[in-house]
Symmetry: C3
Subunit: 177 residues, 3 copies
């Protein structure tokens, strides 16, 4: 069982999750899916159902965990996971901000560093998905600016910790590390 | 006459159209330009006029078609087009949404698949331009989110059907497929 | 002393400045930092202070110049700069627009071409940082659309003039020229 950490970053509907699932499927048979998406409305329920359908039949165990990712990773590892897919860090950051509206970049960095350290201890392959959200205009709302900064900081820390990083555009994954 | 489908994706003012025109010019002498831009206001009229000036003298026949791209492609092919430039799919999606505000991702996928199938039947080279719009924050408006999802879905389907895909950044075209 | 012009383009918190500083540090010992950031509020003051701390101890002379970049570059060159970092062109464009709300794309192109010509005359290495802001949805505000167009135009002109261009994503710099 190969230990590897892979980060997949990309825009909305860029094929991030599909690519990440392919990588995770290739990495092993005992697959765990850590879902960070809170189901708050019909739109989100639709997305979750769509993703569930895509994974159906491919032997996934789903763990729903909105904030305590390290705990979820350790549970999956203890259950013998060969391959873990975390989809996605963007919603994780969103959930952290929802629970702690004062979360700043230093706090985010601590959480991301701690997650990166945990990933080194997890046997097998972990694939993490995150949205790139920083390539538009500066948002007017201070909260949106902060979210964007937290997301970029988190992506940098996990990319530094990852063995491989892919950028997805139009369904095409480019290896950038 | 070489059959080829090329997709050029990039941000606003990233040099998409200029690069696509170079590719289309290199592909043949009998050039057709399929313009999807509706001229709704002075700003759009300016953009259209600017693009027309850029193409002036380079032997283009322009077909204006806002929604029925397959029909426009077939007309160009019947007229003996060696090279067809479609600029751009983003406005095509915008026009489809304007005519059918309920257009959803499944409907978009059907239109994009049908376009992709048509492209395989067109002799010569077709170059398609599309904006990447999914790399900013999640938009607040449900319609904007839907547009972004439709655009990403369309880009994935056409990229899968294309022989070559380029991503333009700061006027530089990177071949990503 | 090697003459070189390098452009670093990327999103918010993508590691642009860090990468640009590494390039500039590697290029020479006599380092000039041209800061274009106006300090208008506490958030900006924080960012400026953070960037100053990052550069502390690395032998930088700071020149604050919000609009007259060529003048600042010539002052740095006259003082014997081996390496100049301009951080960033996005705020420069913002400052130009603030002083001339009617600045259009043709005016921006003239300023950018003039800057590019100046860069060819400056001995040593100049590293320029700019944000990619064109990969989100079309902004609703006409001023935001214009800013996005000016930024893209400026990036294209400087990228064409640069010897090297890097795109940063999640702290990873990809050489795209």
């Amino acid at each position: 069982m190969k230990h590897e950490v892979i980060l997949v970053i990309g825009g909305a509907r860029s094929g991030k999750s599909t690519w990440a699932e392919q990588l995770a499927c290739a990495a092993g048979e005992r697959r765990y899916y850590i879902a960070t998406c809170p189901v708050l409305d019909a739109e989100m329920a639709d997305r979750v159902a769509r993703h569930r359908r895509l994974r159906a039949g491919a032997n996934w165990t789903t763990i729903e965990e909105q904030t305590e990712l390290e705990n979820a990773l350790e549970r999956a590892a203890a259950a013998g996971a060969e391959s873990i897919l975390v989809d996605c860090l963007t919603l994780w950051i969103n959930n952290l901000l929802f629970h702690d509206p004062d979360l700043d970049e230093a706090g985010m960095a601590r959480r991301a560093e701690s997650l990166a350290a945990c990933l080194q201890r997890i046997p097998g392959t972990t694939v993490l998905v995150i949205n790139e959200v920083g390539l538009g205009l500066v948002p007017e709302s201070p909260l949106a600016r902060r979210f964007r900064d937290l997301s970029g900081r988190c992506a940098q820390i996990l990319a530094a910790a990852a063995d491989r990083v892919y950028l997805t555009v139009a369904g095409i994954a480019q290896k950038i590390k």
